[in-house]
Assembly symmetry: C2
Homo-oligomer: 341 residues x 2
């Protein structure tokens, strides 16, 4: 190695029971040095991803994975630059994506890296529209949601990393798209930038009945519901489904703080599935990893041509990572939230 590198790492050390914060992490400093193994690469992170699923994995019980172990660097997606390489596939200065977690520097085997082409799209999109969020937005909507021209698609968390893409893919599929989001800024984004048909600000509605009335008026009934949030918003949408509606469960961010261990109570709704012969399907991005190329082939041209808006919100500073993760649950960000380091 040409130089020792001063590394900074966020270790995950304590399970949160409600909100996550810096008290659940330890910031450690160390040095990376010594000879590289064959095909080893050192990557300097530039964009580190914070995603809602990280909070799911912090629970003590199994969810779709075993719990994230304590005492190791917080796992996450990263985009960075190659600073050292003993691999024939990567050269110094190459941009790559990796799953190397919350650390400035990582020693990676070449097989863990995907090379990025900065000329074809901003490299940060590998963590957003051309990465995991884009993948589940695309396959979740197209394969589980099965949108048809003229369908009414409702998207919760519509200003978020996944929701904002789902909403636009729905427009491309010929749907009438109603986005649900919290606050006037997000709703303006849905209408002005994403060009959705309607935006519903759930924060303006204090009761289930109010939200229901607005949703009835805005949708006229729901053919496809792409759900990122769960909880009271989903309570209001499900009774509005139409015959053979498809409900896609991509996230339940309202429940991640505590509700996964001790479920919240909510109104029962399975009778609506019966009345409407509707379908609920849970989808996870990892199930489509082997079809990443297919998604990119479809979506990258739209990104390049500007037909798809991919909004990114950047937080600067490695030390901000725990706070940035928590901010996802406060609903502050529009589009994909990234920490620039």
């Amino acid at each position: 190695m040409n130089a020792p590198y001063s590394n900074r790492q966020w270790f995950y050390v304590k399970r949160p029971t409600s909100r996550v914060g810096s008290e659940h992490y330890e910031l450690r400093e160390s040095e990376i040095s010594g000879p590289l193994a064959a095909n080893e690469v050192v990557v300097r992170a530039r964009y580190i991803s914070v995603d809602p699923y990280i909070r799911i994995q912090q629970h003590e019980r199994n969810t779709y994975d075993v719990p994230h172990p304590l005492g190791i660097v917080q796992r996450s997606g990263v985009v960075g630059e190659v600073v050292e390489s003993a691999s024939p596939l990567f050269a110094k200065g190459d941009w790559v994506s990796a799953y190397s977690g919350w650390q400035l520097y990582a020693r990676c085997h070449q097989s863990e890296l995907t090379k990025l082409d900065p000329a074809s799209a901003p490299v940060s999109t590998a963590l957003g529209v051309l990465g995991m969020p884009g993948r589940i937005a695309w396959f979740g909507l197209m394969e589980a949601g099965r949108p048809r021209p003229g369908d009414t698609l409702v998207v919760s968390g519509a200003a978020g990393a996944v929701g904002s893409l789902v909403a636009q893919f729905g427009k491309k599929a010929g749907c009438k798209v109603v986005g649900i989001a919290g606050g006037p800024d997000k709703c303006r984004f849905l209408l002005d930038e994403l060009k959705l048909d309607r935006a519903v600000d759930y924060r303006e509605h204090k009761t289930h009945k109010d939200l229901t009335s607005t949703l009835i008026e805005a949708t006229g009934g729901v053919d496809v519901y792409f759900d990122n949030v769960g909880g009271p918003i989903t309570d209001a949408v499900i009774p509005l489904i139409k015959r053979r509606a498809r409900i896609v469960i991509c996230g339940a961010i309202s429940q991640y703080d505590g509700g996964l261990d001790t479920p919240d109570m909510g109104p029962r709704f399975l009778q609506h599935m019966l009345f409407q012969r509707a379908t609920i399907q849970g989808v996870l991005a990892r199930d489509y990893i082997n079809r990443m190329d297919e998604m990119v082939a479809q979506v990258a041209p739209w990104v390049k041509s500007g037909e798809i808006v991919f909004k990114e919100t950047f937080v600067d500073g490695f030390e901000q990572l725990p706070a940035a993760l928590n901010s996802l649950f406060e609903g502050g960000n529009i589009g994909k939230l990234l920490v620039r380091v």
Copy 2:
């Protein structure tokens, strides 16, 4: 017409808000007489069906249908004998099934009748295993449940008209079948007559935790859940689903009394759909009417050979119809409940 017939009819006159009983009906007597129209047939009912869906249609709001109108004869399936016929297709003495409702005699157009062959199966099976309950048991399990050999299938309401068939179809498909029912008689029926792998008596379990423990032990995880009941039993099953589980919502009998208008509260569970990438699908018998022949071709030979047990419970007396309908919600019957008139 050769004779005037003394008809008795149960008119549906008042919407129940909780349990249904004779106060929601009026028993009226009248005479059927006069000339038959071309292709008209008079049918004398012998078996009248009471089914849980009848209670759904009594609600004031639309469910999968507009509400059952007040002031008309209660609709239901019937098996009876032809007593007069001006149709070339039916002769006096023929057995037929019809949707002629709670009345002793009905004037029917020939197109409303299906001829039954008493030599091939007891005619009452046209209201059970070879009728609507058999149809939704077969298609609901095979098409929405997609059982695979070795899967663990859990059936709620397993001693009922639909559940008892689903459980047996599941055994034929090579599943391990765990039936849930209320009371020792039903559980003995599940084990001794239906030969299920396990029977769980939910009434023996006073808490969610108790029922959960027993279900974990009995199932080891659930691949297919065929739900006829909803409510607390379903609350206990859903968290036990395995990867890519299929949940079939065929009924929610625990909710029909009042919960369809004002939903009960229950624990949220959509996160499990996400973790397990599972599917919930609501199914309704009417959606498979055009495939009735396909079901009968498959199931009738099993009925004839005795490979499928079809239990029937008979209540005698036309005047018993409202009470028989209500008894479905008290869980008294095993198999298909029929009123013999």
